[in-house]
Subunit: 292 residues, 2 copies
């Protein structure tokens, strides 16, 4: 009694339509094939499933019992196929992105809006965390892709550089005297420096830079949010180290200005990380296409 499950599909349609001929049409096969399939089922079970009437077929007692199970089963399969089709053309599904709040706000957000407009059926999840946390999320399968600062060296990860950012020091009107005057690192350190407190890539990069010039960077203030970093600089509490692209509005408006240095600050790359071994969901693939 090892039935090919395909036979149940035939049985389902035969029972549902009450006609082997109709079932054949629904399944795009010929009537003898249906006849044969039903016969197989009946032989395998050793039970007659249909009465053969002059104008079709009808279920026997036992056939009706079988149908009560098979009907549900077939409906589930149909639903499954519809669901998969929906997932494929992104009428449903979900996209889970990991990264820092600032990147979300200033880089990812416009793409997310566009994505959501195109695929309103896809549920969006944002998980913020530090770069190592985001990598963990990825490896645990909790997110589809991560948006972080380079460099990432993990061999398990596929990283695609997608955006170049330039970090810089900015200050508010209070320090107007520094405007347009190239500053040395030594001079800079005489002012209160405001840095991002968390162990971020950007923080590490600037610390290393100072060290390579023989300086030690000691921030006056440390904050946990990029927005706060900007706010504090505007209010004149010090000089903030921020990503230039994230303060473009303030720079244009004049509420902040960039401090020129006599050394070149290295640009930083933003990369999109994915797990090398894990195939991307369609939802994620489309987002990647969008962002490039």
């Amino acid at each position: 009694m090892n039935n090919n499950y395909e036979l149940y599909k035939v049985f389902y349609w035969a029972a549902k339509t009450g006609s082997l001929t109709q079932a054949a049409k629904a399944l795009y096969i010929t009537q003898p094939s249906v006849s044969h399939a039903i016969k197989q089922l009946e032989d395998n079970f050793g039970i007659t499933l249909f009465y053969r009437n002059p104008k079709g077929v009808s279920l026997t007692q036992e056939g009706a019992v079988l149908y009560s199970y098979i009907e549900q089963s077939q409906i589930l399969i149909t639903l499954a196929e519809e669901k998969m089709a929906a997932l494929k053309n992104l009428d449903s599904g979900e996209l889970r992105i990991g990264g820092s709040d600032s990147l979300f706000k200033h880089y990812i957000l416009p793409y997310l809006e566009e994505y959501h407009r195109k695929y309103p059926g896809v549920r969006l999840h944002l998980n913020h965390g530090t770069t190592p946390e985001v990598i963990s999320f990825l490896k645990e399968g909790r997110i589809d892709l991560g948006v972080v600062r380079m460099p990432i060296t993990d061999p398990q990860l596929e990283v695609k550089e997608s955006l170049e950012l330039q970090d810089c020091f900015v200050a508010g009107p209070r320090y107007a005297e520094l405007k347009d005057v190239p500053l040395s690192l030594t001079k800079l350190q005489q002012y209160p420096i405001i840095l991002f407190s968390r162990n971020s890539r950007a923080r590490m990069a600037i610390t290393e830079l100072f060290q390579s010039y023989g300086h030690t960077l000691k921030p006056e203030i440390e904050v946990g949010s990029v927005d706060l970093l900007i706010e504090l600089a505007r209010k004149g509490l010090g000089i903030s180290y921020v990503t230039r692209e994230f303060v473009s509005k303030e720079l244009e408006a004049g509420s902040l200005f960039e401090i020129k240095l006599d050394v070149q600050l290295p640009p930083s790359q933003v990369g999109i990380m994915t797990m090398r071994s894990m195939p991307l969901s369609s939802a994620a693939v489309r987002f990647m296409e969008l962002i490039v």
Copy 2:
């Protein structure tokens, strides 16, 4: 996207075991076959269903969605197959018999007891009614077989004669003077006759017999139950026309005696009716075997 449902069986086992190799073993096919089947599903959907890990496979997001549907579907099919096996070897199912109460009580009952002992899983239904009613039940598919008096001439019905009965007149001690004295029909009619009231085969037969001898049978009392027929005769209220085999106990005990007639009363046949066009359920087939 027109998947062979057999593929879902493979998918189910692959997902369930987390290993194509294990799935292959469960399905008694080879690992490449499983590999191939999964690939087909993935190609047809255009969606990757499994992550290929070094020690097996695991479901992707989309694969997990599919699994949630397919798992239910497959469980239903498994249940269906178990149910059908149970129906086949009569661990479940039902047997529905139509007939008269007297035949149930005096003829069918012992077979029903034996049947129930052999197949306790089969639910038994008895539907009593007159012969035409039983025939209707059969044609409406409300019973599997009918037990009735012959003759039955309906061409749609298959009838198997299974028992010969002899109807006779019986009386109680009150009429002891009639014992062992052959009686003519004319004489008989001088006594109060008790007949079954309903339009039964037995009643029709005896009425016809009287007519063939130029008499008209006018019962003093009519009752609707064979038991009452017997009871009234015992109490001396008249002479009952009953089936000899159904009063064998009373005849032996002496509470009733048979009245000899100078004419031969024709025997009557009991037949088991089934619908010619409808295959019998296994439960019914077994019962037929038992009763023959």
